[in-house]
């Protein structure tokens, strides 16, 4: 695992994605933004990795019992032809001894490309999203006083989107409620809200019933925010600004 060179593995997560989120992630029915949050959490959290492993075993079992949906007649021939274009699989030199802590699962199919600059500090799933930005500094856009963002998943018609937020120390994200589900994971620093204290790798989930005002402490905070519906800010000026910034 080449990720997170300078960052110690967080000891114990206190806030995990809920059972529904883990299950939906494992079965592939979670939307892409929330999947990104869950996959990033798995990089930090051994316990949830274990749960997802189990659910995936169930998924494998389900795959076996699904009624097959036949492919085109020439599908196998085409696949075999495509194999010729691939290098022969390379056998491993020798089976390595089982490691105490298994590598985090690859949350997306292709291997995480090398990303340099500030993006290199984030877990592989996030790097995967940032890879088109290649290297160097991320294209942060101002979102409000002390808050910057990089949009990872542009808001879709159903209102779901994902963005990286960078929040200056001792700054509060404006009070808001939710018109859908919100999943946030801390990638640096941390924040506190009415629900608790969130640190590296912790996931905060909120729904329509929650109104909160996350506050960043003495360290700058970077978090990944995925929503399945628009945020609703309590302040009209913030609402207007958010609308201009397409938040």
């Amino acid at each position: 695992m080449n990720a997170l060179p300078s960052r110690p593995v967080a000891p114990v997560m206190t806030h995990h994605p809920d059972v529904l989120a883990l299950t939906d992630y494992a079965f592939g029915s979670l939307r892409v933004g929330p999947s990104l949050v869950v996959a990033s959490h798995l990089t930090f959290c051994f316990n949830c990795r274990d749960r997802v492993d189990t659910l995936e075993a169930w998924g494998g079992e389900a795959l076996e019992s699904l009624p097959p949906d036949p492919l085109a007649d020439d599908a196998l021939d085409r696949a075999l032809a495509r194999l010729d274009a691939l290098p022969a699989p390379v056998a491993p030199p020798a089976l390595p001894a089982p490691v105490a802590s298994p590598a985090p699962p690859a949350p997306v199919a292709s291997p995480a490309p090398r990303v340099t600059g500030e993006a290199a500090e984030y877990p592989a799933p996030v790097r995967q999203f940032l890879s088109p930005l290649a290297s160097g500094h991320l294209p942060w856009q101002p979102l409000g006083p002390g808050i910057r963002q990089v949009v990872l998943v542009k808001p879709t018609s159903d209102g779901s989107c994902a963005r990286l937020l960078s929040i200056r120390p001792r700054t509060a994200f404006p009070r808001h409620s939710h018109r859908g589900l919100e999943y946030a994971i801390v990638l640096a620093g941390g924040f506190d809200d009415e629900q608790g204290r969130y640190r590296l790798g912790d996931v905060a989930q909120a729904d329509e019933r929650v109104s909160h005002r996350p506050e960043v402490g003495d360290e700058p905070c970077v978090c990944l925010l995925a929503t399945t519906g628009p945020l609703h800010f309590s302040s009209p000026l913030v609402r207007l600004y958010a609308s201009l910034a397409r938040l």
């Binding site: 592939g28 892409v32 990104l36 494998g60 088109p132 009209p236 207007l240």
Partner: protein, 273 residues
Amino acid sequence: MADPAWSRVACTVAFPALCSGCLSWHQGTARPVRSGHGALCPCSDARLIRKAAPPFRVSLSWSAFRVPLAPVLPAGQRGVGGVMTALPPAPALADHDACIQAIALHGDREAFAALFRHFAPRVKAYLRRHGAPEAQAEELAQETLLAVWRKAAQFDPARAGASTWIFTIARNLRIDQMRKEGRPALDPEDPLLVPPPPSGADSTVEAHEREEHLQKGLATLPAEQATVLQLAFYEDLSHTSIAERLNLPLGTVKSRLRLALAKMRDHVSKEPS
């Protein structure tokens, strides 16, 4: 569950299994599923899920959950007669593991074809059920099996069985596909994006300036647009309520709001940083 005799049958789960209802771990006594394929959590009646942990994987498989349908045991008779013990792994499953290993060791095309025939239609069915269109499901099923070929050397039967491993490849390809569909968001040249960040750190002073700048922008709007914006953002009214309040057609409200936002966005983009 209506059959009282059946409800008294117990089985033994010989390894930690996860309850899909309470997501807690169980081992030992449980209740078999009537069909004979699986076991139920003794407390929540939800299905138990096998744990594919290395120590158990070798000698046990899902088939360990299989229990003969007859005879139904009388109450109290548990233990040897009623115990559902581990059966040897189902050969079909073991074959799939071996196929992947054959690909890893000597690029076995026969083994690939066998895997393809078994899994590709199932992966396609899985993707279709998750809303992938026919052509995309077909293509991703192909991609999944090609990834099996490429990654065969990474397959570790101690960690997960063939079907689980292939399932996760398909699932990850699906997420990857959704990511690609969302990729336009990453285009830094997108003219819709809010302008690049000001150099230097934000400051409270800047925040005030930003607010002032926004207010100035509001002041430059034609009155009819400013009114609509005012109602939408300061009084938090829906488009419909605004239309009722101003006695305007809904379409007019929407177009005024759109114009106002476009002007404001333009104004903000000229913000001196």
